[in-house]
């Protein structure tokens, strides 16, 4: 078990470094940062000045190594735009995004698992159909648009909830609905197919034959096994939500990490963009690692298999 965790941890660390290399090079190779910072009207000498000032004239590898050396100490340098430490800006915004992601995930799980179980128990009935329709609609709507329609319905028409901001808990309801609904269908479908598979297994039939009550069989025996892959998916979804929060935060003008990244992208503030990309990737890597460990604890069979990517 310890060996398994150590191996997973090693892989996670390697992935983290690779992601940082890739995101660093992608940003530096997509265009000339100095030109982007100096602006369209800048003369050639001004661009050169910017290049020297921000250290962009040195070889890419030197720049990367220096950046990484500081990044592992959580020092992402200063913002090009605000002359503020990037880490402070991130620390200020991160709680909002984490709160939003957490609530959205919770909402998604609270709906997805019961709905998935019901759909499996009442397979091919109207309950199953309704669950499928809910899932299919959720996957089809662009989240930014669903967010806007929620504003139209609950803020403009019904006056129940605020349009934008992030000061009160009411501000989190609509964005969490929009993000959560997007994540819910996949979890619901996985719960359903997992339950269907497990309910046909021999040990469930045995449990039933022994006279154990239906609900005990469903919840204690079947659900526990069906839920294992859902745990992994939930971790992955949370990672995606942190990355996808840039859209929802912009719709609801929430001052979270996504909004910070979006502002930084529009201002060519690359130290900030770089830091946010890396931090979100680290969260994703950490979460998938955690999911692997939880899976291994729940299902000993997984420890021996090579594991999926």
């Amino acid at each position: 078990m310890l060996l398994y965790i150590l191996r997973r941890l090693m892989i996670a660390l390697c992935v983290a470094v690779t992601v940082s290399v890739v995101s660093f090079s992608l940003l530096h190779l997509s265009g000339d940062l100095a030109t982007a910072i100096a602006g369209p009207e800048a003369s050639a000498s001004q661009v050169e000045e910017v290049r020297v000032q921000f250290g962009l004239n040195r070889p890419l590898t030197t720049q990367y190594v220096e950046w990484l050396e500081h990044a592992v100490q959580l020092d992402f340098g200063k913002s090009f735009y605000f002359q503020d430490q990037v880490i402070n800006m991130v620390a200020e915004r991160l709680p909002i995004t984490l709160k939003l992601g957490g609530i959205s995930l919770l909402l998604a799980i609270v709906v997805a698992i019961p709905l998935g179980v019901l759909a499996a128990l009442y397979r091919d009935t109207w309950i199953d159909r309704i669950a499928l329709v809910i899932a299919v609609v959720g996957q089809a709507m662009p989240s930014f648009w669903f967010g806007l329609t929620l504003i139209l319905l609950f803020s403009v028409t019904l006056h129940w909830l605020p349009v934008s901001g992030n000061e009160r808990w009411q501000n989190f309801v609509l964005p969490a609905l929009a993000l959560g609904y997007y994540a819910m269908p996949a979890m619901m479908r996985l719960t359903r197919s997992g339950m269907l598979e497990v309910l046909n297994a021999d040990y469930i039939r045995t449990a039933r034959a022994k006279g154990i009550s239906k609900y005990k069989v469903i919840f204690k025996h079947a659900l526990r096994n069906a839920i294992i892959p859902v745990v992994a998916l939930a971790a992955v979804e949370l990672g995606f939500m942190l990355g996808g929060s840039v859209v929802i935060e912009s719709v609801y003008s929430m001052q979270g990490l996504g909004q910070l990244a979006w502002d930084a992208i529009s201002r060519n503030d690359y130290p900030v963009v770089q830091a946010v990309v890396l931090i979100i990737a680290m969260f994703y890597i950490g979460l998938t690692f955690l999911a692997d460990v939880i899976n291994a604890l729940l299902d000993p069979r997984m420890r021996t298999s090579t594991g999926k990517s």
Binding site: A140, S143, L199, K214, G243, W262, I265, S266, Y284
Partner: protein, 305 residues
Amino acid sequence: MTTHTSALAATRNLQSVLKPLPLWRRRLRRLLGYRGLMLGAVMLGVIVLAAIFAPLLAPYDPYSQDVSQRLIPPLWHSLGSWEHVLGTDKLGRDYLSRLIFGARVSLLIGFASALISGVIGTTLGVLAGYFGGRVDAFISYVITTRLAMPVVLVALAMASLVGGSLHVVIILLGLLLWDRFAVVTRSATQQLRNAEFITAAKAVGASTPYILLREILPNIMSALIVVMTLEMAHAILLEATLSFLGLGVQPPTPSWGLMVAEGKSYMFFKPWVIVIPGVALALLVLAINLVGDGLRDINAPDGRN
């Protein structure tokens, strides 16, 4: 013991009902089972035809502005008229015409980027699945790394540096969305690797490229088409998102995501300016997903993903 009427009993009841008329009921059930696929195919067909024949169908030029005709509401509104069935936008352009031409952008981007990512992902997946060992370990690592990158953020940052445009969006999404292709083709190839017909092909001296292209590829095609539909839908949603944030397709090109962005500041008073393009997007993605789900159900009828 009333609690014994379980879900299993319910399905058993259903089966006993089916017994007297097995053949036609079974056929009907099968057709009904593919109802989603049929519905999706019809919807997708209509949208594709509308996109192809856009110049014939659109009542107006989607680019022609008329400031005297700004923000006219659609037909069902009390102030609507047959002149502009879906109304006009803030520049007085006919909304229906822009919607029809917008279908071209969505379909083109969805198809082209799914094609690019399909080539990348399938190549990686087939190689990993067929050769296994170190090749597999390396490619799996590449897939894991790709999954850890926040796609929306990276796409936004790159689009901002390169400058958003139709081509940039296609290439960016094509380069970023290959992960599912790779994961699915990898496991599909792994299942085929030791099949008898592969061993037979090796025995008669077929070259490795021949086996990969002529033996493996046709056999994973059905799985590949399913992923292709899902990734098309994914790419269309991401294009809309990028265009909504202003880093995708640039104005005045009619893109549904862009139409939502352009209507955003008017949505409190004229909600239809965002509702119409959003519904169009949702319907297109829904149609593609229904086709994809239907095809998957045909391949794996026991309802597993």
